[in-house]
Symmetry: C3
Subunit: 241 residues, 3 copies
């Protein structure tokens, strides 16, 4: 039995990872799905990256979890990298699933094409609390490309405004991911166009990990919604010894 | 029920799309498979790009088709782009299937590697009517790589000499595809080597669409022959809301 | 019935290709699995590239094999290229399976990222007979990424120290692969990270073949261990007319 902590992406909550957690639990594993500070119902959307990372550090420490397989989706890659840096002794393996891989001093926006940064800047500036939402057509076409229109609409309604400071705050790390001693995996879904594939997840970001285990499968950015059972299998392949 | 118009590639005819049309019709849709001017049995092979586009514009207007999902294969990407520019009110979505995506002023040959342009120049110069055919070894290895030799031979015999001016004429567009208001999808078959994959269809040409929906599957350039049922499924995924 | 000669990669032997040979034989084909000089139990690990190539040339000549489909894995790409150059009349088709494709004057290390060359230099320098082994974590994560830990360990124990001169000797060819008259195929397994995918097998090395047939499937570098039946199917697709 292994211990998994699944860290969701921007606009999501831990609850939205439950359909992924269930089939992993069915294999006998212990699976946690915390919600990052800033994405919880009452949270201040002015939450920054350090507080977001701190909330997952605290989650693991409070439960005294050890030998953790720490999985991060998209923005969650920022969080698991920071968490492993703060809690090296408790993490067995980092699993990035179409996730950002920051070096020390980088922010998420440094890894995103300029037209997305410009869009997020404009949306957050118009928000009362520095929050960003994704325009529905981008969600439908670039994130939920492997779903029908009804599923794209239904899942959009479950998203929450995301604290934009977590995209613009630089991460502080004592070592870059390639130098971290923890084992690392990268799960890449081959139809993921949340980043344009010319400036994509793998190998552009995955290779910042140094030696890592690649796991790939067919699907878009939101396989937690479109194919949670396949995602669970891939998480197990990425996390196993 | 949706209305699909399937626009074939170079050397093909609409008739060769029938095995793709049938399973789409089995889902209750209305599917048309016109042959582009220049590829019909008696057509002058000196037909240029404007006349080729005009023939599909006329096909749609004469039948008063509206809310069309307009699918183009390979060279057909030139045709559907021009058609959407001429008939914006009638097209619901453009679906490029391993297809060329031209900006205003570009010709097909601008998107093809120099060794293919040199080959086509030589073949057309030796032709009495500026037509090009594909040498059988290229068809067999680079286009029909996912078939056996007998299927490669049988399909080669169904091809027709292609009007070369449609590769060298620049397209005239009032807006580039990225700026067109119509929805767009790109279907990429991952073993398609009709273009060398270092200078390939996706993401090099697909990203000229701006926001688009990516659909991918396994197969070569001629899945209309090697796997028409899978292609039909992918066209439906690309065309649905 | 066709004649296949399967040429293994570095650290392997012909015996380790038997699970691949068997399903090809079940289709009625004649399949040979020689071990390259330098990798046989008693061989001097100071064996160089010319002697390694010569051993496969001799294997084919002694058995008077003709119309051979010559398959090479990884380092085996060096060997089959040299063999086709020495024995043009006996080879029907070259099949590279995630294999190196050398031009005249290149050595294997010329196609490998600098950090691997540095690693191999250090390991071979510490060896009494200029042999190299792969560190277990690289084998487990980058070569056997599609396996569990037990399979990674069990297969590692079957490997043999590899003669490093075969990586550093330049190959002598009378023509580069793109100019060779023999037919060519490239099999690419899409999760193969033995080379980093930013500097990978396909299309970087495959396109050195000129016109070639691409066959792809899901798997890592060692599908001879992780999925020999699928590999056998892909070899048949790559080798058929």
């Amino acid at each position: 039995m292994a211990t998994y902590v699944l860290v969701h992406g921007a606009w999501h909550t831990g609850e939205l990872m439950e359909d992924v957690a269930r089939p992993i639990r069915d294999h006998g594993h212990d699976v946690h799905t915390p919600t990052i500070a800033g994405n919880r119902p009452g949270d201040d959307r002015r939450t920054g990256l350090e507080a977001a990372i701190g909330s997952i550090v605290a989650f693991i420490e409070e439960r005294e979890l050890t030998d953790v397989i720490l999985v991060g989706h998209s923005y969650g890659g920022m969080i698991i990298t920071g968490t492993a840096d703060r809690l090296p002794g408790r993490i067995r393996r980092l699993v990035y699933w179409n996730a950002f891989v920051p070096n020390d001093g980088e922010c998420l926006n440094d890894m995103v094409p300029p037209h997305y940064v410009a869009l997020f800047d404009a949306v957050s500036a118009a928000s009362p609390d520095n929050a960003v939402m994704l325009p529905p057509p981008i969600w439908r076409e670039a994130f939920m490309n492997d779903a029908d229109g009804a599923a794209a609409q239904a899942t959009y309604e479950k998203l929450n405004p995301h604290p934009y400071a977590t995209f613009t705050d630089a991460i502080r790390l004592s070592a870059n991911p390639a130098e971290m001693e923890v084992a690392k995996s990268y799960i890449n879904f081959t139809e993921d166009t949340a980043l344009p594939q010319s400036l994509g997840w793998h190998p552009r970001l995955s290779e910042k990990l140094g030696l890592f285990r690649l796991v790939q499968a067919s699907g878009g950015h939101e396989v937690c919604f479109t194919n949670p059972t396949l995602l669970a299998e891939k998480i197990i392949e990425a996390g196993r010894d």
